[in-house]
């Protein structure tokens, strides 16, 4: 076939039915609905949520997971778009480990050394490691599906970013159920759970986001 003939074919298929931006908007709605439904039917807020909201440690947990979600989401909507400028958002991701490190240092300062280990191990490590990945399955699937409309330069990396965003939503929901509020607990177990989701996203990206 000649190139002109191929162009004839392409031009008759000109209309765009489904844009990447629409796909991503739908995916965000789906992600929040899926994670939210699962969370409120199976888990729900911790019983002392109102009192908890006055605790700095608890609020910080919500803030850091929300920041992770927001930054990863902003990166995700750009990463499938050739020529989009992603560097500022990649750098902004560093905000999350920085926030974590500051909170861990503060906790180490205010807490007697004898309590460190107990706070770090906490009571909900198993729940944390299983519920965050569980809550992120729906969001991750929605994000990967939407990104299939995209053209990411590096499919694995795009998948990993989707994993971070999904892990961020899941962790933010789970944080309002979990009663372990010490930054030491968050830095260890939440991080581990989110790393698992990010790894799953990376593999999903390599598998489904190549184009």
């Amino acid at each position: 076939m000649k190139t002109d003939e191929l162009i004839n074919m392409l031009s008759e298929d000109s209309i765009v039915r489904f844009r990447l931006s629409h796909a991503l908007t739908l995916a965000f709605v789906a992600a929040i609905l899926l994670a939210g439904t699962l969370f409120f039917t199976v888990m729900g807020f911790r019983p002392d949520i109102e009192a908890a909201l006055t605790s700095l440690r608890f609020v910080f947990k919500l803030v850091v997971t929300a920041v992770l979600f927001l930054v990863a989401a902003n990166l995700m909507v750009r990463i499938g778009r050739p020529g989009a400028w992603v560097l500022p958002w990649e750098l902004a991701l560093l905000l999350v480990p920085v926030l974590m490190a500051v909170s861990v240092l503060a906790e180490l300062v205010v807490l007697p050394a004898g309590d460190w280990a107990a706070q770090m191990i906490g009571h909900n490590a198993h729940e944390c490691l299983s519920l965050i990945p569980l809550l992120s399955i729906g969001p991750l699937a929605a994000f990967i599906l939407a990104l299939r409309q995209g053209a990411p330069e590096n499919p694995g990396r795009a998948g990993a970013v989707a994993g971070l965003a999904a892990g961020g939503i899941a962790a933010a929901f789970y944080a309002s159920n979990c009663t372990d509020d010490s930054p030491l607990f968050v830095a260890l177990w939440y991080t581990m759970a989110i790393v698992i989701v990010t790894g799953a996203g990376y593999l999903a990206g390599r598998r489904w986001l190549a184009w």
């Binding site: 003939e5 162009i7 031009s11 209309i15 765009v16 489904f18 990447l20 020529g83 330069e153 184009w211």
Partner: protein, 183 residues
């Protein structure tokens, strides 16, 4: 034509195309192709790939631009989008053809500013894929590509709705891109 004028023109055509204007889209693709061909030839020569492959590369890149045109945000300039798209797909295509390639984005930008009117169209990978199509897809593709028929004319000929013809055409293009990827 100045770079800026060309970019404005490409953006305008592409915006119309996204809304379903086949003519504008054809102008856009026809205008991009010579640039693409220059780049593909240069790269094939540089990496020792046979020159006959350049046209296959051109077609593969065109197809990718087509299938991923929904990633261009019509409110943004088209040049960074199309340069990145071309660079990524050139690397991809040449690599799959056995070359180790690195195409700096600046080179793509530079070539996008050259007017190359060379018109050579050669044999294609595409044909192998098209042979695998079943009826009525094959007739549809044949009518639209070789004979330059519109979807409407083709629909009348194969006695199908326009919508069904559009779907068949789109599927054929997807099948084509899948074949490239599994090469």
């Amino acid at each position: 034509m100045s770079d800026l004028a060309r970019e404005e023109q490409w953006s305008a055509w592409m915006r119309a195309a996204i809304g379903g204007d086949a003519q504008a889209y054809q102008r856009f693709l026809t205008s991009v192709t010579p640039h693409l061909r220059t780049m593909a030839r240069r790269r094939c020569a540089q990496f020792g790939a046979p020159a006959s492959e350049a046209e296959d590369v051109v077609q593969e890149v065109l197809l990718s631009i087509h299938l991923k045109r929904g990633t261009w945000d019509p409110s943004r300039p088209i040049a960074p989008w199309i340069s990145t798209m071309i660079r990524n797909k050139l690397i991809d295509s040449l690599r799959r053809r056995g070359s180790h390639v690195d195409v700096p984005l600046e080179d793509v930008m530079a070539v996008l500013q050259i007017d190359d009117q060379a018109q050579t169209q050669e044999r294609l990978d595409v044909d192998r894929v098209l042979k695998t199509l079943k009826e009525p897809q094959r007739t549809i593709v044949q009518a639209i590509s070789v004979e330059g028929s519109s979807v409407r004319e083709t629909a009348g000929r194969v006695n199908m709705t326009e919508g069904a013809v559009r779907v068949a055409l789109h599927r054929a293009l997807k099948a084509l891109s899948l074949t490239y990827r599994s090469q």
